[in-house]
Symmetry: C2
Subunit: 558 residues, 2 copies
């Protein structure tokens, strides 16, 4: 009997595994590829001047004829942010997502000037045939409405990708996660589970979104100050609860912050917010009401320096300044890296006499991700043969892998994914199978991928020590200086207070040229290199800095 | 009866109040000033290229003839880091500190080439007469040995400055805080208390340093891997406990990291560490021992990119690489702002199969600062008439002020200090009384204060968008270009892949000059300005960036 090659599904991680952001996973079998999510990451601290980071689509471009569809689990930036960049390369590929998610994508691609995209609305329960794959969207709970898990039926078995999820039995304005369908699929047999790992280190359960109603009640009750609540603009459920509390306690609601306003408008238009008549007021009208009659919902819960809350705290907001007549509520937790920015705002608010409530002293926030007991529930219902922890820092993936192992998935059936890693799944095994070109593509201004390591290194050095520019003209025939050296600096020292030093740099440039002429050097390239080295050495000796040196040396005949 | 002016003590905050770092407080009466602490702050994220931030000494320089002494509470950088810069301006002022603190200062000023400083060792209980002031050092507990509070007897009453402290009834290698003396001073009457506010938001008590012995026992017991423990190099007590545990479980101890080695050497030399014979080994000898026989003590607990732990995690350490044969313990908490750096190391360690224990999953760290119940004890013992919370973010000062108020200090007797703020204390009142020149002086390379806001703004822009440099020569008499425009860029785009764009910039420079000649412009300054604006506009249009533009335009006659 001839040995035939076993059919295999390839799972290719183009981003999003190690560290939050840039989720993008391709599932491939023979001539078909479907992609789940297409997010951005925010630049690391050392990516100076970089606006966004998107996945490297090279693998998909090299297999463009196989790509059948892009499926989106939910509308957070780390899952949809790179869709416009994807559609620039793959304009004809259909995008499938639920209603609100699609609304957000639509707004986003319009801003990028993309027309005629093939956007298709799906509902939880919908089944799509995409090449060899059959996919099903399954309702889950998360920190924004309309989030889904996606089940992918492949020739090698069933794959369940949870997307970002939590288990909320009493969600706000939506149904609880469809555990029944997940259990049913589990009974039928799930070959591979890919599961959200964000809270894999946190014990217990994530509280229900609706548990916050009690906190808001307590905060609003008898409060005579204006209440200003900052939260994530995509957290439509949270905004709903703030509106509910405001209505109950007789407050009008105003919105500030561009992204908050955009999300609010989209959510109202698409029917995701239940807004009582006449409750909303324009921000410009806030002053017409006594403080105890107004709630302001704002962006800035992460301390973002240009956000509405920041501007209100620092007195830079056109319409609103905060004082002891305001109570600020940060209905959010700190995304790692933002702690200092948030503290800066809190300090400033206290200086103005504004009281501040945060999640560290009050139950004003719940996570959108499943904690350990919920992850165990997911394992118990799905009983997967193979497991891959996704979405989280590496340490979270490890913690999640250990949890799955404790719940019965053998260690040899667990693969920790990495960006660019290909994982092959047959009916018998799940194994790493090499790597593809993948990684962070830095998007900066209007260009994609124009910024690379070399430019970032220059920016880093410019940011620390600045640049010295020296221009001069030489006549290499007569071996003399035809235009005397002129010096400019940027980011180096304060020129006005250091004219003597600038003069000395010009003098040392002059001396460098003369010294080399005296040595018989008449090659302008050699003169240029030596001039640069001499200035660098002079600057280092005088200031202990290492600014970049740019020499503009021209041949100018006398 | 003629009305005489009431005698007043001025308290001048030169730094260190809002946000941690740069502690420096002057106490002034008539012709005498004494200073408590003289620390540095670490640069904020937007202080590009700045190495350190020190207090502005202008006020002291303007009153130089009054300055009697500098007293130091303990040897952390935020209390001693600016001593070398102080002594450069006040070489003859005596510095008083306890033994270990003085040892650290001595090493620090030597590195700055300062000789003949008047360093005086004091012991807890010592009383000094400094002009009109009588001061007494009082033993307290903190996260390094030899920390003191300072009591200052003034003509307007007694002031107690706690310095940084915690209440540790079972400290390691030192006596508990001298509560008896503090209580005695309280009974005699304390007019003003200045008290550490770092943990003013944290309920309960800070656990004793010695409570960690149990944790270390549990970690070391039956552990067969090499144990690598990162902690603050100044935490000599912690290092002592690690050595104790290593001895108990038969491990040798090696030290790595420059500052850890320096502190270890100083602590041994000055008798602050009790090191069993033969337990210490050189790092180069670690490989000669089986993993279960070695402990490595290292720097890097804050994720610092050049630290020994970082280099070990990323395989860049000369002597040691970590693997699954190592267990890393971060015996520390995250200083706000360092969370992402720490996570980066932890992820990398997990990738190498190295297990990591941190304070978030194990009791491996205790704070060096008093929590709320300890702060209440301090209030109860001292019963101050007046109160100023010091050392902490503004939000901590507020929380501490509220605590003091609850404990009986009337609100009108509490002043929240600010940097540069003068507070006047008479026998009857404590009030803000104007401001003096104070604030952050940025130290950069070898220069002090050379970097100002203008230079930082240039660095910020350079770091985001880089710089375009255009040089050219013109003959304004014949109104023509005598040296064609030449373009160089740094930190802008990757030149090698964008030669066409560089060419276009040169072309647009050429066009700008020709266009303006055609308009009859023959003033080189006008040509220069217009050239700069045209290039800026061209770059913005082509790339959506706003690089800095430097034009080097020379008159070169044909």
């Amino acid at each position: 009997m001839a040995k035939t090659k076993k059919p295999k599904v390839k799972i290719v991680f183009l981003g999003g595994v190690d560290g939050i952001g840039m989720n993008c996973t391709a599932f491939e079998y023979a001539n078909d590829i479907i992609i789940v999510d297409c997010g951005v990451a925010f630049p690391e601290d050392d990516m100076l001047g970089v606006d966004l980071v998107i996945p490297d689509f090279s693998y998909l471009e090299n297999n463009a004829e196989k790509v059948r569809a892009l499926l989106i689990t939910h509308g957070h930036e780390d899952h949809i942010g790179a869709v416009p960049f994807f559609l620039q390369k793959f304009p004809n590929i259909p995008v499938f997502a639920t209603r609100l998610t699609l609304g957000i994508i639509d707004g986003k691609i319009s801003e990028h000037g993309i027309r005629n995209a093939r956007l298709h609305e799906v509902h939880a329960g919908d089944v799509l045939n995409l090449g060899v794959f059959q996919t099903e969207f399954i309702n889950v709970n998360h920190s924004m409405p309309d989030a889904c898990a996606i089940c992918i039926q492949t020739p090698c078995g069933r794959i369940l990708h949870t997307g970002d999820f939590k288990v909320d039995y009493t969600p706000v304005g939506e149904r609880p996660i469809d555990l029944a369908r997940i259990a049913e699929l589990g009974r039928k047999g799930i070959r591979l589970l890919l599961c959200d790992s964000t809270n894999a280190e946190r014990p217990g359960y994530t509280p229900s979104e609706s548990s916050l109603a009690v906190s808001f009640d307590r905060i609003f009750n008898n409060e005579t100050r204006r209440i200003v609540i900052a939260t994530f603009s995509s957290n439509v459920h949270r905004v709903q609860q703030i509106i509910n509390a405001s209505e109950k306690f007789g407050r009008k609601v105003a919105i500030t912050g561009r992204s908050m306003q955009n999300f609010f408008n989209a959510a109202v238009k698409l029917g995701y917010l239940d807004v009582p008549e006449d409750i909303m007021i324009d921000l410009t009208d806030v002053k017409k009401y006594p403080p105890e009659r107004v709630t302001v919902v704002t962006t800035g819960s992460q301390g973002e320096p240009m956000s509405a809350l920041y501007r209100m705290a620092f007195g830079e907001h056109n319409q609103l300044a905060l004082s002891s007549n305001d109570l600020v509520v940060l209905s959010s937790s700190a995304i790692p890296g933002n702690e200092k920015l948030i503290t800066k705002i809190i300090n400033e608010l206290f200086k103005r006499g504004t009281d501040v409530i945060t999640y560290s002293n009050y139950d004003v926030h719940v996570s959108g991700h499943a904690c350990r007991e919920e992850l165990k529930l997911m394992q118990a219902l799905t009983q997967p043969e193979f497991f891959m922890p996704v979405h989280g820092e590496y340490k979270h993936l490890i913690a999640h892998a250990e949890l799955a192992n404790e719940m019965g998935v053998p260690e040899c059936n667990i693969v920790i994914p990495e960006n660019g890693r290909v994982v092959e799944m047959s009916k018998r095994s799940l194994k790493p199978a090499g790597n593809v070109e993948a990684g962070a593509v830095m998007v900066d201004g209007s260009g994609i991928g124009e910024v690379n390591g070399a430019v970032l290194r220059e920016r880093k050095r410019l940011s620390e020590d600045g640049v010295i520019i020296v221009s001069a003209g030489v006549d290499t025939e007569y071996m003399c200086i035809s235009i005397p050296p002129e010096v400019a600096t940027r980011g180096f020292i304060y020129e006005k207070e250091n004219e003597e030093l600038i003069g000395k740099i010009a003098e040392s440039a002059h001396n460098s040229l003369m010294r080399n002429f005296a040595k018989g050097i008449d090659n302008i390239n050699v003169l240029r290199t030596r001039l640069r080295d001499d200035i660098a050495e002079y600057a280092r000796r005088r200031t202990k800095h290492r600014p970049m040196i740019v020499v503009m040396l021209n041949e100018v005949r006398l």
